[in-house]
């Protein structure tokens, strides 16, 4: 029971991370293309400058909480996804210093260098995160001891000897990039005014169709790749609320007339998509391919009860404080950036 609760809490933190860091990753992924002048680019970066680091903390806090609540999952997945995780770390370094170092020198050499670094790192991070989610949904070749090691690619097919990248995980990676690009565009539109705001609006309206097509394709592919998803939705019809949430968000992106409404719709879409995936693979946290019985579940990866109980006593007040800080910061930096 406690494991189930922690499963939901970790999922909540990951959703928090994807929604919050998602918009600055998305803004980073498109800023090279939607900004037509140095000033516009600066405005986009200023819209995320004070908050990106706080957003990234959700990753650290989610990672720490995942380690605490499911140590065996943390240990198996971090060592098994060794190479792509290390590359994510390098990309996070590139992204972090690009945005922090950029404004130190006003020079036509320095600024475009870091703007490009920021754009490239943001794009690749979005793709990597998507591919990571794809790997978790598809499953990995876990041994009886509960570990694995995946190469970056094999023959690009799902099956019993997949790589990090196969047709399915690449598809999810592209979906993630598109979803975050649209998410970032809604954020920029909400935080800016004038021509730039209009231009990102046009971008998001065009990209919305691509996002819809990719969402459909990825959903169908997920049912094909991971049989557990169909089982869960068949046995627990109430789970349909998650995909419905995603659909409502998707519709809201198109038809919500207010800027903040469109951005929030995008948040709802992301939350709906993530929770659908989480619900779909339950009770697995990392399914196995090949010998399905080796899959890691919330039950065989959790520590003893006492630790999980104590955790609730500090996690709840701690996260309540974190939400207070986050709200405070966003309120202080509310309004359009000029």
């Amino acid at each position: 029971m406690l494991s189930l609760l922690w499963y939901c809490l970790v999922a909540l933190m990951i959703a928090g991370y994807v929604i919050l860091d998602g918009f600055d990753l998305g803004a980073g992924a498109i800023h090279l293309f939607v900004a037509k002048s140095a000033d516009e680019r600066k405005v986009i970066l200023r819209s995320i400058g004070p908050v990106w680091d706080g957003n990234e903390v959700w990753l650290l806090a989610a990672g720490g909480t995942l380690y605490f609540a499911f140590p065996a999952l943390y240990s198996a997945s971090f060592s098994g996804f060794y190479l792509p995780l290390m590359m994510v770390l390098w990309l996070l370094i590139l992204r972090g210093i690009s945005i922090e170092f950029r404004n130190h020198i006003e020079s036509p050499v320095w600024i475009p260098l870091w703007d490009t670094g920021f754009g490239v790192a943001s794009i690749l991070l979005a793709v990597f995160y998507g591919a990571a989610l794809g790997n978790v949904v598809r499953g990995v070749p876990l041994s009886a001891a509960g570990d694995f090691f995946l190469p970056l690619w094999t023959d690009f097919r799902t099956g019993t000897a997949p790589g990090i990248l196969d047709w399915y995980t690449v598809l999810i990676g592209v979906l993630a990039l598109t979803a975050l690009a649209v998410h970032g565009a809604f954020w920029i539109r909400y935080k800016t005014s004038g021509e730039l705001s209009t231009r990102v609006r046009e971008f998001s309206q065009g990209a919305w169709w691509i996002l819809g097509a990719l969402t459909l394709a990825a959903s169908a592919a997920s049912f094909a790749v991971q049989p557990q998803i169909a089982v869960n939705f068949r046995e627990h019809l109430w789970g349909a609320v998650f995909p419905l949430l995603a659909m409502a968000g998707f519709a809201g992106m198109r038809w919500c007339s207010s800027e903040v409404g469109a951005f929030l719709s995008s948040c709802v879409y992301l939350a709906g998509m993530l929770t659908s995936a989480v619900f779909g693979v339950f009770p697995y946290v990392l399914p196995a391919v090949g010998d399905v019985g080796h899959g890691l579940t919330i039950y065989n990866t959790a520590p003893a009860e006492y630790g999980l109980q104590v955790g609730l006593a500090w996690w709840i007040p701690g996260m309540a404080l974190a939400v207070v800080y986050t709200v405070f910061v966003y309120r202080k930096f509310a309004g359009k950036v000029s």
Binding site: F68, Y74, S75, H104, W314
Partner: protein
């Protein structure tokens, strides 16, 4: 030594050593910036506000590198030390998750406000945000030291019938006697770095006859804080040494280079450990002192390495011995230098003393070396254990990650961190060149 294990160890050692060059300045400067903001608020003096703005710029560059090099540390428990992460996760997951929840949110939220929000916040809230950045950074230090302390001297746990380690007492974990002294000792080490860096920059300005008004402030605040930190470092280090003597007596013998058990054991000031002949070559000894500092008794018996089985010895005795001696030697020099500077300050002669200003300016690297040597003492002293007395280092690495894969990422990190280090020095140098008066004209 199995080569994959060696690469995993080097991987962690390299990334954590580079990483800790940055948080030590962050944690030390955070306190000094609070001091400046408090003076500005209390005396209503813009001079202190400008000083704080200038150091906030250095702080921000330093913090950015600290954050991006810190994330790999949390990941590496799982990536490179999976067997340890799995076995110890029920306990260590607590402190690592608490660091994220309690300190990173606080630190990052209020650092954003502190750097970007001076106009939005007003004087009092801006001061308060500097306090919260300091609290956040020191909380982070607490959870990391508590994590390390559990590896040095595990408490608050129980071992299940299946051999799994589980948390047994939350307060037992949090109030580990090892943390009690290692935490203040580590934070004081950070204050030493922050204050010597500040004094060094001030001395540079005074010698160069630039920004002299700020130079005097930085030297004054720097040497006062440095003296306080250096004296308290000695006291906390002494108590920490007592912990080592109690919980890791083999380590004590190795750090001191004591091979033969002795009553009234001498302390070794200089000399080279010879682990073949089992003695110190070219020793410079002070009789009976080791017995006194360990047990407060000039003739107490201190057990030497030769009376412990070799497989309990730390696996690199000479490096451990040198790390410890470098730390203690530098700590002694810090007390002397800061002490003389404070006396000269009191006499009103410090700002004119070229000798002392040069000494302060050139002191810049030494607190970094001392902090690094201190951590090397702690972690080499923990060997051959990953969790002292419970899990050997050789039993904790990821055996599903081959030496070749680990070396690939180690080389990658070496390249990335070289570039980061160069960029950091370049940007900080530029800020020092522009100096504190530049932040006034920018109006922030």
């Amino acid at each position: 030594m199995d080569s994959a294990l060696a690469v995993h160890r080097l991987h962690f050692a390299f990334t954590v050593t580079f990483h800790y060059l940055f948080p030590q300045l962050t944690m030390g400067l955070a306190l000094l910036i609070v001091w400046m903001k408090t003076m500005a608020l209390w005396k209503n003096d813009e001079h202190y506000n400008n000083s704080a703005r200038f150091w906030a710029k250095i702080f921000a560059i330093n913090f950015a590198v600290g954050v991006v090099t810190g994330i790999p540390m949390e990941f590496q428990f799982g990536t490179n030390w999976a067997r340890f992460a799995k076995a110890g996760g029920g306990v260590l997951g607590q402190t690592l998750a608490m660091e994220g929840v309690y300190s990173f949110f606080l630190e990052s939220s209020f650092l954003g406000l502190f750097i970007y929000g001076e106009k939005l916040l007003g004087r009092r809230l801006h001061w308060f945000s500097s306090v919260l950045v300091w609290v956040g950074s020191w909380l982070s230090g607490f959870f990391i030291v508590a994590t390390d302390a559990w590896m040095q001297h595990p408490t608050g746990y129980a071992v299940g019938a299946d051999g799994s380690i589980r948390l047994d007492s939350f307060w037992g974990l949090m109030l580990n006697p090892w943390t009690l002294w290692q935490y203040p000792h580590t934070m004081l080490g950070a204050v030493a770095t922050g204050s010597f860096v500040m004094a060094s920059v001030g001395a540079f300005y005074l010698i160069a006859k630039r920004q002299e008004e700020y130079g005097r402030t930085f030297v004054r605040m720097g040497v006062i804080a440095a003296l306080g930190a250096a004296v308290l470092l000695l006291a906390s280090g002494d108590r920490q040494g007592h912990n080592v003597a109690t919980y890791q007596p083999v380590t004590l013998a190795a750090t001191e280079g004591l091979f033969e058990t002795a009553q009234g054991a001498p302390v070794t000031i200089l000399g080279q450990p010879d682990t073949n002949a089992l003695r110190i070559d070219n020793p410079l000894l002070v009789p009976r002192v080791l017995s006194f500092i360990t047990y407060r008794n000039w003739s107490a018996e201190v057990k030497g390495l030769n009376d412990y089985p070799r497989d309990l010895w730390p696996d690199n005795v000479p490096l451990l011995y040198y790390s410890f001696h470098i730390m203690v030697g530098l700590g002694t020099i810090f007390i002397a230098l800061a002490g003389i500077c404070v006396v000269w300050l009191w006499l009103g002669r410090l700002y004119e003393s070229k000798t002392l200003l040069w000494a302060l300016m050139l002191a810049l690297p030494f607190p970094y070396i001392a902090n690094t040597a201190g951590w090397m003492t702690a972690e080499l002293g923990r060997q051959p254990w990953l969790v002292y007395g419970m899990m050997r280092t050789a039993a904790g690495d990821s055996n599903n990650v081959s030496a070749g894969n680990a070396l690939f990422t180690l080389v990658g990190f070496m390249g990335v961190y070289t570039v980061l280090g160069i960029l950091f020095l370049f940007l900080v140098y530029r800020e020092l060149e522009r100096g504190p008066s530049a932040v006034v004209t920018e109006g922030h």
